[in-house]
Structures are given as C-alpha cells and as structure tokens.
C-alpha cells in the first residue's frame, strides 16, 4: 500500500514573485477570473475589457510567464485557459480532507484529556 504524505510546498511551485506581479494588476486579475470560468479565445477575453487587443496580449504574456495561464493556437484562433497543473480541485480537496481529519483528531485529544463524567 502506498501512502501519500502531505507536501508542505507544492511540487509545481511556480515563481511566486512572477505570480504576485502578474496578479498585482486589476486587469490581469479580471482576466484570470474570466478564464477560471472557462477557456476563451483572445478576442472573447478582450471583449468586456475596456482596453486594446494589443494591451490584452501584453497582459496575457505576463500571465503566461507566471505560469497561471496557457494559450494554444488552433488554426487562426488563440485560446487561453487557466493552467491548473497542481492546482487541481482534487488536490485541494485532498488537502482540505486531511486538514479536516487532523482537526478532528486534535478535538478528540481535547475530549480525551477531560475526566470521564461518570
């Protein structure tokens, strides 16, 4: 049986300075939020943003370098999506699950430290 120990630092760890820089801008945060709903073409991503397509492409480059977003060109359409490697929901759930049980066992310890009522 294989057991999996909790990793304190995710192995996929992206460059945190780049991520902070990428998300330090409200337009880029809006783009990430949009893409977290579903992948979009560059033009659809640009549409609700009140900036030029060129500016959107510049922002996308920064997001791509930070490892948050990936783009793929199919035919004449470039599609952008969130790069979820290591940030998968299953991975988050596992962490959440383990934390939940750890907290439970802490509470069990507190309960056992009390004298029995009878």
């Amino acid at each position: 049986m294989q057991t999996k120990r909790r990793r304190l630092v995710p192995s996929h760890r992206v460059n945190i300075d780049r991520v902070f820089h990428a998300l330090g801008d409200p337009t880029r945060r809006a783009m990430v939020e949009k893409l977290s709903q579903r992948p979009l073409s560059v033009s659809l991503l640009a549409k609700p943003l009140a900036i030029s397509l060129a500016a959107v492409i510049q922002h996308l480059e920064i997001l791509e370098k930070s490892g948050l977003v990936q783009t793929e060109k199919v035919g004449r359409v470039r599609t952008c999506s969130i790069k979820t490697a290591g940030l998968s929901i299953a991975e988050q759930w596992l962490d959440e699950r383990r934390t939940t049980w750890e907290q439970r066992f802490d509470r069990l310890g507190d309960l056992l430290a009390e004298p029995d009522e009878n």
């Binding site: 977290s36 579903r38 759930w93 596992l94 066992f105 069990l108 056992l112 430290a113």
Partner: protein, 161 residues
C-alpha cells in the same frame, strides 16, 4: 474545454498518526458514544452541524449534515457525509466507508480505517483513508470560487507588502 468536460477520478491514500495518553478503550468510547463522537467529529471548523445521527454497529449508518458558515468558501452550502460501518473490533479498530457531498454533488467516496494500539504512553491511533475524488464533481462554480479565494488571498497578501 476538453479538460473541464473530462470525468476524472483521482485516487489518494494518506495516513495520519496520533498518540493519546489514555487507554485504547477510552479512545474507542469516543467513537462508539454518539454524544462524544459528535463533539470531536461533527463540531468545529467553518460549518454548523445541522444533523448528526449514528448507528454504531457493523452495517449501521451514520449521517452528518453540516452547513458552511458565512465567510467560508461556500457559505450556505451543505456538506453531507454518509457513512457505513464496515467493521468494528472494540478497542482495536473501526472501518468505515463514506461518501461526501457538497450540496447535491458527491465529491468523494472513501474507505477509512481507524486502528488503535496500546503503547507505554497510552494509545496510538492510525488513520488511513483511501479516497476516490470525483474531479468533475467540482463543477465550474467551485473552480471559480476556488480561484476567487486564491485571488483574494493574494490580493490581501499584496496589500500587506
């Protein structure tokens, strides 16, 4: 789009070990006594306990409904556990199979084993969970909420520096 439509199941096994300065019988009693179990198992965290019913015997079921408090990742959403007792050996082990659902969607199904062993200092508890997480069960909403939370945390972090 393709990745989001994929019905992926992710399997994970993990172990948590604890030692308690008391007898295995007392640790076991915290599992078999519903009032005690409710206190350490259902209560706490960012949820309110709405229901907790248990039938502690092999084949017996347990149902826990907790609801996320305001300010938690999924405010107002119910977190429902359905547990079935697979094996019980007093003072030694409890084996359960359980599913967890977030609202209407099941997010995982697991086999979980609690093993109690006496030590000089008291009792060792070894908890092993073998889980199947249903990736597709998260839905767009949860992915979105997950990301929103990450972004908010980062924004808070940025505001500090």
């Amino acid at each position: 789009m393709k990745a989001m439509e994929k019905q992926a199941v992710t399997h994970h096994t993990y172990v948590i070990e604890r030692s308690y300065p008391t007898t295995p019988e007392r640790v076991f009693a915290a599992f078999s006594d519903p009032a005690k179990k409710r206190r350490w198992y259902a209560t706490g965290g960012n949820c309110e306990v709405e229901e907790f019913e248990m039938d502690f015997r092999v084949g017996g079921n347990e149902r826990t409904v907790r609801r996320f408090k305001p300010g938690s990742p999924f405010p107002g959403v119910a977190l429902i556990n359905h547990t079935n007792y697979q094996d019980i050996v007093p003072g030694q082990r409890v084996v359960i199979a359980y599913t967890m659902a977030l609202g209407e969607k099941r997010i995982s199904a697991s086999l979980a084993t609690f093993e109690f062993s006496p030590t000089e200092a008291g009792t060792n508890l070894i908890f092993t969970e073998q889980a199947a997480f249903f990736e597709a069960a998260d839905g767009t909403k949860m992915r979105e909420d997950g990301w929103r939370k990450i972004l908010e945390n980062l924004a808070a972090e940025l505001a500090r520096s």
